[in-house]
Symmetry: C2
Subunit: 404 residues, 2 copies
């Protein structure tokens, strides 16, 4: 006899809020900068030095002091006193009447008034002739110390996912290691007596489970470590034992099961969850697919009971599991970020008592408008359309991949 | 004396076409399906079996033959002859008057006319009473063999980057390994006497090179293996020797250098490239930044000479290097895919003799329109605006990351 389980029914938005509220960000760890791409920055990092570190030449040319050696009506003459290449580590100094040949990026000598590009100067007999017009120009061809980054400026904010652009700033500031949030460890259990193990000969009535492969790949896109991905038959004792073993051995930060979520006598996930002492946050959603789906805590481990059909797993992963992962990563959860898009072929909806999720392909059209069409069955999707029975041509979509 | 090098000047579009034309896709390799996420499929893969593999029940209920045992005006009665769970590997058969209890996903017995859900039936004394109205319904609750995937159907096309959705289909079709294009091996050489090695104490006039970190991260986002990332001073002999050593030791499929691309006497990249026997495709672009930039072949290895400033490296990577990588991966290069977007604060342009590239932040606004604003100096970008001096509010943009 199946135990009676009471229903905790939520809308999709309520479910998202309930999930993210219960999830505690993971601890930090320190890693080399070279491994930090796509990790979440644990603490705001500020520049501890200016960039450039000193006043630099912005051109290959002559660095000049204010006073020339002599001048006529067209030119001022300076004594060429040496050359400064980029990377020269000796700080030079200019006396009145002096000039240094200088390369782009090199530290200008103290007392430099401006740099005049080679191409407008004439060099002869150890002197350089500079047109007076050049000396009158506003553009001095000097990049001031700190003009790009000032000491104390924010380089990467806490709870930000690190992009190549952040790593550039951190590297230039001399950062070689930094604190990031630990990657979530996620365990996947696919339930169903009909599921063949990978590589097993396929008997009639059996199928290869695609959910494990699908979820492992989706978890990879979300920067998680999939610590195990196992298949188990519809047997409450075996499922219970397997989950206990996984929690003990793999110490997951999140558990996902697929299948076993219907009302049938072989739908055992809720029963197993209750037997393991799980505390449900919801076990019903006003969402299709996903009406029968579970979220709760197994001791402190968040647990998602997803349905069996892979198209539903895919949609619910993006809608419910991804926000949980965002929180585990310590990122700010922005609450959904649905966009408005034009639907190519608006379809009338009969169901209006719940949110209907549809896999879709989004693109930007020639007028710069976001457009979306419902995907064919086998087509990869980059968006999920949310239908509530009230929409016309404009629908709400969640973008889950690059635009077509 | 710097050798004279003739100018091969191209527009950005011409440069892209010239690059992608010269790049040959890498060879294939066979890898496990579990490692295939984001790899490029080498050959089109078709289903070798239908899915579902047999006619299945779509509900928990009774599978019935056409003829009942007996019937009155409201109900037809059937003999309950057993139970079929999902995963049962024995093909059952129904005689007239028989019914089987059957679970969702289980193979229906031969001669099954329909499945009637448990909740509308009454079971009593080994018989099940089914309302006649149910037997008249169009919905038979049977998922036909092949209704999701038919034998011969395309699962993943050659030259496609494999997404979780592809891996799902391939896994369900029993695929455990597949042919993908080899990952490009890319070497990075940052030139500049002003560049400090990582960890070296920073002397005045020196800077930490961010380009190596930036390019390694960008290459990771483009699914390349960065085989080395080295810094070298502005010395033609040393740069030449280093590149020869890298080609010999690391066998890169692509080489990228930064710095040394100006007209100055310490700008040595072109000279080194010529000395190594490189054949230029272009060494001038009508693009800012990037006017002095180089692409050519070093024997058969494609070589990019990028400028030194990291903001220019970032933009030119996305505009010129990424298309080359797409081709190395064997993906179809679609020719650019610029989108139209509304620019928040249209800025007048003085330069109109070339394409001006600007880092930008793109978003979809509340009306579903693509909008873009020019980025602040330290801000990570997700788009590149292409300005040609003729635009008003609408500009061309390349999207390079998820929308804000």
């Amino acid at each position: 006899m199946k135990p009676t389980i009471s229903h905790l029914e939520l809308s999709l938005a309520e479910a998202c809020a309930a999930i993210t509220e219960r999830i505690v960000p993971l601890e930090q760890e320190c890693i080399p900068l070279t491994e930090a791409l796509a990790r979440v920055c644990a603490a705001s990092t500020f520049a501890d030095r200016p960039s450039p570190s000193c006043d630099q030449s912005a051109r290959d040319g002559f660095a000049l002091a204010l006073q020339p050696l002599c001048a006529d009506q067209a030119f001022a003459a300076f004594q060429v006193s040496g050359e400064i290449a980029a990377g020269c580590t000796t700080q030079k100094s200019l006396a009145p009447g002096q000039a240094f040949r200088i390369m782009t990026g090199a530290a200008v000598p103290t007392s430099t008034a401006r740099v005049v590009p080679f191409e407008v100067c004439q060099e002869k007999d150890g002197k350089v002739l500079v047109p007076l017009a050049e000396l009158a120009r506003k553009q001095r061809h000097i990049r001031r110390q700190g003009c790009e980054v000032q000491t104390g400026q924010l380089l990467a904010a806490a709870r930000t996912r690190l992009l190549p652009d952040h790593l550039l700033l951190l590297a230039e500031n001399g950062c070689q290691a930094l604190a990031v949030q630990r990657r979530p460890r996620v365990a996947v259990v696919c339930t169903g007596t009909e599921l063949a193990q990978t590589g097993e000969p396929l008997l009639p009535g059996r199928k290869v489970s695609g959910n494990g492969t699908l979820l492992a790949a989706l978890l990879e896109t979300q920067h998680c470590t999939c610590v195990c991905c196992l298949t188990v038959e519809d047997n409450a004792e075996r499922i219970t034992a397997l989950i206990e073993q996984i929690i003990e051995r793999d110490q997951p930060d999140l558990l996902i099961s697929t299948g076993g979520m219907g009302p049938g006598k072989f739908d055992l996930t809720e029963q197993v969850f209750a037997r393991l002492g799980g505390v449900s946050v919801y076990n019903r959603l006003r969402v299709r697919p996903g009406r029968s789906t579970l979220f709760g805590l197994l001791d402190k481990v968040p647990f998602f009971g997803l349905p069996g059909p892979p198209p539903a797993v895919r949609l619910l992963f993006h809608e419910l599991v991804a926000p949980a992962i965002v929180r585990l990563h310590g990122e700010e959860y922005s609450g959904g970020m649905l966009k408005k898009a034009l639907l190519d072929d608006p379809a009338p909806l009969s169901q209006v008592d719940c949110t209907v999720l549809k896999g879709a392909v989004a693109r930007v059209d020639e007028e710069g408008r976001l457009r979306v069409r419902l995907a064919d069955r086998l087509e990869p999707i980059n968006a999920i359309v949310h239908l509530n029975g009230e929409e016309g041509e404009v629908v709400s979509v969640r973008l889950i991949g690059p635009l077509a």
